[in-house]
């Protein structure tokens, strides 16, 4: 399994987003330490994949971070730390690192790297660096695999989505007469949760 390089819609072609997902990571403590030490070889967003719901969830954070970087309004150190911060529903940067960033206990790891004109790493270079440094099993960056890693209860707690009716498909008969619980009920509920998460991220700091 190799990393996936994605040209997000409405970003310059020079800003490619590279994603690599690992499970059974054994050296999270070492990787975490590299970030704390500011090791220049580790310019990645290293995300604990147990709080990531889906590809869109992660890509939305990457899009926002790159966009904010292009607009010169990063709130954190660089575009990679900003990806982690962009997952946050609020403006607390330190808290966002604790919640979404790699910790010494992390076993499911999502690494995101943005290549930029000033730092034009190629997919091959990034892949070989990650293969060398991450002691874990690289798996496909897909919704199916991510779902096996997600701690949904924790996601709901972080985004404060517990007390709600769950949007359109919360199980109660909706205003349009569609009842939420059918064969696809769980899948619908997940989709709806993803949508609410994207909304919280987009509104970071703008809610009150």
């Amino acid at each position: 399994m190799a990393l996936e390089s994605i040209a997000l819609e409405h970003l310059p072609a020079s800003h490619t987003v590279h994603t690599a997902l690992f499970r059974n990571v054994k050296n999270a403590s070492f990787l975490h330490q590299q970030l704390l030490a500011g090791n220049k070889d580790f310019e990645y967003a290293l995300i604990d994949a147990s709080v990531i719901m889906s590809r869109l969830h992660a890509l939305a954070a990457a899009y926002r971070a790159v966009n904010d970087s292009l607009e010169s309004r990063l709130r954190s150190r660089n575009v990679h730390s900003e990806i982690v911060f962009s997952l946050s529903p609020n403006n607390n940067i330190a808290e966002s690192f604790r919640r979404f960033g790699i910790t010494p206990q992390t076993t499911n790891l999502l690494a995101i790297k943005v290549s930029t004109p000033s730092s034009p790493a190629t997919a091959t270079e990034i892949q070989s660096h990650l293969s060398k440094e991450v002691d874990g099993e690289q798996v496909e960056f897909s919704d199916e695999v991510l779902q096996t890693m997600t701690d949904l209860a924790r996601v709901k707690k972080i985004y404060k989505l517990n007390s709600t009716g769950g949007g359109n498909n919360g199980g109660k008969k909706g205003v349009n007469g569609t009842s939420g619980l059918g064969a696809s009920g769980l899948e619908d509920e997940r989709k709806e949760l993803e949508i609410l998460v994207l909304g919280s991220m987009a509104l970071r700091g703008a809610t009150n």
């Binding site: 994605i6 040209a7 997000l8 819609e9 409405h10 970003l11 310059p12 072609a13 869109l56 890509l59 939305a60 899009y63 926002r64 966009n67 607009e71 989505l161 709600t164 009716g165 769950g166 949007g167 359109n168 919360g170 109660k172 909706g174 205003v175 349009n176 007469g177 569609t178 949508i195 609410l196 994207l198 909304g199 919280s200 987009a202 509104l203 703008a206 809610t207």
Partner: protein, 270 residues
């Protein structure tokens, strides 16, 4: 005028505004302009991936407004629309999802809703019936059921503490596909089938005042009246469903009578 030829009116070129800055970077699916309102431009495009369609609402700077004031107003409207949409979505009101926004740059990216606005669907339906020579009021339970869905959607919105501010049949859409009637009868070619989705929250606010809610209903009633010949009896169906949709709805319906009265007086005074 340099030539004698009079250009045909229908070929007069439409002014195409330049793409908003956020869209000047490449995308697999090119953005297309859907509507150009007084305040906002609405584009269809894609968010993150070519497979995820979105609507982009862009509020360009107004050259006739003081720049500082203009920026402040634009920011306010983008943020307020986004907040209200997110709140509605969280609380089970059928509205587009919020994807991304940049209040300083003046844009809001939301879920693309397939289908058509209710105004257009109603007109299509009326035309079909006319072509088929069916009299008004005959065999129109599909229409009645649509009205009930409208009433419930508006009721749900009011119940969660949101008033729309511009509730017209152009600001609600009918999204096909997911809705099947109680007997699973979402027939092919049924232009009135589908889920109601409320859109355009640019003038919305958070309020639980009966007066604000009643004004919403009054605005909607007027909008229906101008599109449908049998509007009055149909709107009773909307109000019937609304009345059952949340506690306190009946007080709003009472208030609506006052609002109508004031409206009538105002129009008599001219």
């Amino acid at each position: 005028m340099e030539t004698e030829t009079i250009p045909a009116i229908e070929t007069a070129p439409i002014e195409r505004p330049p793409l908003p800055p956020v869209f000047q970077y490449p995308s697999a699916v090119p953005p297309s302009l859907i509507t150009q309102g007084a305040e906002a431009l609405l584009y269809r495009s894609t968010y993150l991936l070519p497979t995820l369609p979105c609507a982009l609402k862009y509020r360009p700077p107004k050259p006739y407004r003081h720049p500082t004031l203009d920026l402040r107003l634009t920011k306010h409207r983008i943020l307020s629309e986004a907040r209200v949409l997110a709140k509605c979505r969280r609380e089970g009101v059928p509205v587009p999802a919020v994807y991304a926004l940049d209040e300083t740059a003046g844009w809001l990216m939301i879920e693309w809703i397939e289908g058509e606005v209710v105004r257009i669907r109603l007109n299509e339906w009326l035309q079909q019936r006319k072509d088929e020579g069916i009299a008004e009021g005959v065999d129109d339970d599909r229409l009645v059921r649509l009205m009930e869905r409208v009433g419930r959607a508006v009721g749900r919105m009011h119940a969660v503490g949101v008033v729309h501010g511009d509730l017209t049949t152009s600001n609600m859409m009918l999204r096909p596909g997911r809705h099947a009637g109680p007997d699973g009868d979402s027939a092919v070619g049924d232009v009135l089938a589908g889920d109601i989705v409320l859109i355009d929250f640019g003038l919305a606010s958070q309020s639980t005042q009966d007066e604000d809610r009643a004004v919403d209903l009054y605005v909607l009633e007027r909008a229906f009246g101008s599109t449908h010949p049998r509007a009055e009896s149909l709107f009773k169906v909307v109000l019937g469903a609304y009345g059952k949709s949340f506690k306190g709805a009946d007080v709003v319906l009472k208030r609506l009578e006052d609002v109508r009265m004031r409206g009538r007086k105002r129009s008599m005074l001219g």
